[in-house]
């Protein structure tokens, strides 16, 4: 997945100011930044939902799966009906087999007949991701996937996502949880006010902070990240 000089404007406001980055197969890339940095806008453009005003987005031709921040599910349908609907819409030759595969992957086989509205937020998010995976994507885009989940659900989610990356899927996710980005993101892309400020590993970001604010560099990653932004006027 490649993005080159991506610009997006909403009226007078420039939400993205020439953002460029690349992610390879099996990579887990975390996009972090303050509110209004442009994380969701960038993911929407990578997903093809929004069009950039300038720049290019491309890949090696594989499908791009997209998991929006709020679960895009039909809450009055069951887990199985949701998966079956999207498998049919994706044009799977054997949609029922795909549903079985996803139920196995998400660990929701026992709850296949339950109405989605009655599931916990964590389980809804698992189905949300499973639907994103139905297109058998080479790249999976996750917009703040762990919002609203308790620590146990979050751990299960990341275990699941890491296994996907381990299988060769490129995973790009946005998050407000900086510790989560350090723990699970093989690479971190820092956005602020629509600009790309940093692209590298969490350790490389700490190194960058060490030369500017040594007292922050060795504390938790969130402190180091805030110091990094402050030194750049954000």
């Amino acid at each position: 997945m490649r993005a080159t000089g991506v610009v997006k404007r909403f009226g007078e406001r420039e939400a993205l100011k020439g953002v460029s980055f690349e992610a390879g197969a099996g990579e887990l890339v975390a996009i972090i930044g303050p509110n209004g940095a442009g994380k969701t806008t960038l993911l929407s453009i990578l997903a093809g939902i929004a069009k950039p005003d300038a720049g290019e987005v491309g890949g090696d031709g594989g499908a791009v799966g997209w998991v929006p921040q709020q679960a895009a599910l039909y809450r009055r349908l069951t887990v199985e009906e949701n998966l079956l609907l999207f498998a049919r819409l994706e044009g799977h030759e054997d949609p029922r087999a795909s549903v079985e595969e996803m139920l196995e992957l998400t660990g929701l086989r026992e709850r296949r007949g339950e109405i989605v509205a009655r599931l916990s937020g964590g389980n809804q998010q698992r189905i949300n991701i499973a639907i994103g995976l139905l297109s058998q994507p080479a790249v999976l885009l996750l917009d703040e996937p762990s919002v609203g989940l308790d620590p146990r659900q979050r751990a299960r989610l990341w275990e699941f996502v890491s296994s996907l990356a381990g299988g060769g899927t490129t995973v790009i996710f946005s998050t407000h949880d900086i510790q989560e980005a350090e723990r699970y993101g093989g690479r971190v892309l820092v956005l602020a006010d629509g600009e790309s400020l940093f692209d590298g590993s969490a350790e490389e970001l700490r190194e960058a902070v060490r030369s500017e604010a040594p007292e922050s560099a060795d504390r938790d990653f969130e402190t180091a990240f805030v110091a990094y932004l402050q030194h750049r006027g954000h």
Partner: protein, 452 residues
């Protein structure tokens, strides 16, 4: 359109899984059918009116010393309203105040005497008393209309009776005959016979008396001729202006057909507009819209699927309702293909309008409210007949209602139900134009509002 099939299935599953919606979809047309059915099959109920007749028995209206035949006011009144006979004024007041009766009609004891005084040198004013409870404006208007009509009819009948008696006396004067006075029969010569006798005796009189007698004979002839003319004049006096109704335009259907068409169109409009607008807004409320339009289904296919959903459900519910109406008012089942055509076109245009509303809204509740706010006044204005408002206002209403599918849908369904009514082609063409226009608006709205 492959995806649209699965979306349609999904929407029907959601509909089935929403018990309130499903019950409303079935119960609403049944309820409307039953209400309209009862209304058109029973006709208007006679209002209950308390009746107190204080006029002494055997009192007759007297014209020129002769009593008219019994007017039988009680029978006349009670044919038109449901009479509740009360024993006195206090009971009449109590029943009116409690709402048991719409009004009370009291014929005072001196009513006939006052009518009789009209032909004397000191005429009185005959009055009947009406007790009403004007607890609201509609009831007051209803009572006024009913009582005014009742009294106008009573006055007309009395005037006709007096006219007839007057005509009979004129006939006696002109043609002669027999007249009953105080139990005795008095022969009346009559002008016609008098003139004939005078003509016969004239030759026997001395010549100098003949000119004077000729004048008397001439007067008798003139009086006879002129009084002959007076009788139809007296008859017309009771109702000087007659009504000659000539229909010059508008093939209005029978009232029961029109009532059924209005009920069916209202049902169809609310169900289709709400369902299409609501199901489209639901895609956004569930955040599924961007996921769907990311290549799974096109915007056009999504709109088409929603309109199809509205057409399918609207068709089933409206047919259910029309067949339900059969119980109360037989409809021509040979015209069912035309019903299908009218409902199909109507539901299509209404669905496209619903899609335009749904594409502009993000929440089901908001769009439901919007659909009600649009559909209700349009339906109301579509039922305003010409002449009920000023010409300028009516032209504005006609233009406004032509922009929405309700009125052409009503015209199409009326034409489909009524064999003798106007053709169905015009309304169907109108609906087709509105379908295309609203679908275009819906597509634009979807592009404009559906961005992430």
């Amino acid at each position: 359109m492959r995806g649209a099939r699965w979306l349609l299935l999904k929407d029907l599953q959601i509909l089935r899984r929403s018990p309130l919606q499903a019950v409303l979809l079935v119960a609403y047309p049944i309820l409307i059918a039953v209400l309209v059915g009862f209304a058109i099959s029973r006709g208007p109920e006679d209002p209950r009116v308390a009746f107190l007749n204080e006029v002494p028995p055997n009192t007759r209206i007297n014209v020129g010393g002769a009593e008219l035949p019994k007017a039988n006011v009680k029978k006349q009144v009670c044919e038109r309203v449901e009479c509740v006979f009360v024993k006195d004024r206090a009971e009449a007041e109590e029943r009116v105040e409690s709402g048991d009766v719409l009004a009370a009609l009291i014929l005072p004891a001196n009513l006939v005497n006052r009518i009789n005084s009209l032909s004397t040198l000191t005429p009185g004013v005959p009055e009947v008393e009406v007790l009403v409870n004007e607890e609201n404006a509609v009831k007051a208007e209803l009572v006024d209309d009913r009582i005014t009509t009742l009294l106008a009819e009573a006055n007309l009948r009395i005037a006709r009776r007096i006219g007839n008696e007057g005509g009979r006396y004129l006939g006696l004067i002109v043609n002669g005959g027999q007249f009953q006075v105080l139990g005795e029969t008095v022969p009346i010569l009559g002008l016609r016979t008098a003139a004939r006798i005078l003509e016969q005796v004239t030759p026997a009189l001395p010549p100098k008396l003949r000119p004077a007698l000729a004048e008397v004979t001439e007067f008798a002839s003139q009086a006879r001729d002129n009084l002959d003319v007076a009788k139809p004049l007296i008859d017309r006096l009771a109702q000087p202006i007659a009504v000659n109704k000539v229909v010059v335009g508008g093939d209005s259907p029978p009232l029961e057909i029109f009532a059924i068409a209005v009920a069916a169109t209202l049902t169809l409009a609310f169900i289709v507009v709400l369902l299409v607008a609501g199901s489209l807004a639901l895609e956004r409320e569930e955040n599924a819209f961007p996921r769907l339009t990311r290549g799974l289904v096109s915007g056009g296919a999504l709109l088409g699927e929603k309109v199809l959903l509205g057409v399918v459900v609207g068709l089933v519910v409206t047919l259910l309702m029309l067949f339900g109406m059969q119980v109360f008012s037989p409809l021509d089942l040979g015209r069912v293909p035309l019903w299908l055509l009218a409902i199909f076109f109507s539901a299509g245009a209404l669905g496209a309008a619903g899609a335009a509303l749904g594409a502009a809204a993000r929440e089901v509740r908001a769009v439901s409210l919007l659909a009600f706010m649009v559909t209700l006044p349009v339906a109301f204005l579509s039922l305003v007949p010409s002449g009920a408002v000023g010409p300028g206002v009516f032209d504005a209403i006609r233009l406004f209602t032509a922009l929405f599918p309700f009125k052409p849908a009503l015209q199409a369904i009326t034409a489909a139900l009524d064999e003798a009514g106007p053709g169905i082609g015009g309304p169907l063409a109108h609906l087709a134009v509105l379908f295309v226009a609203y679908l275009a608006i819906a597509r634009l709205a979807l592009r404009r509002f559906a961005t992430v």
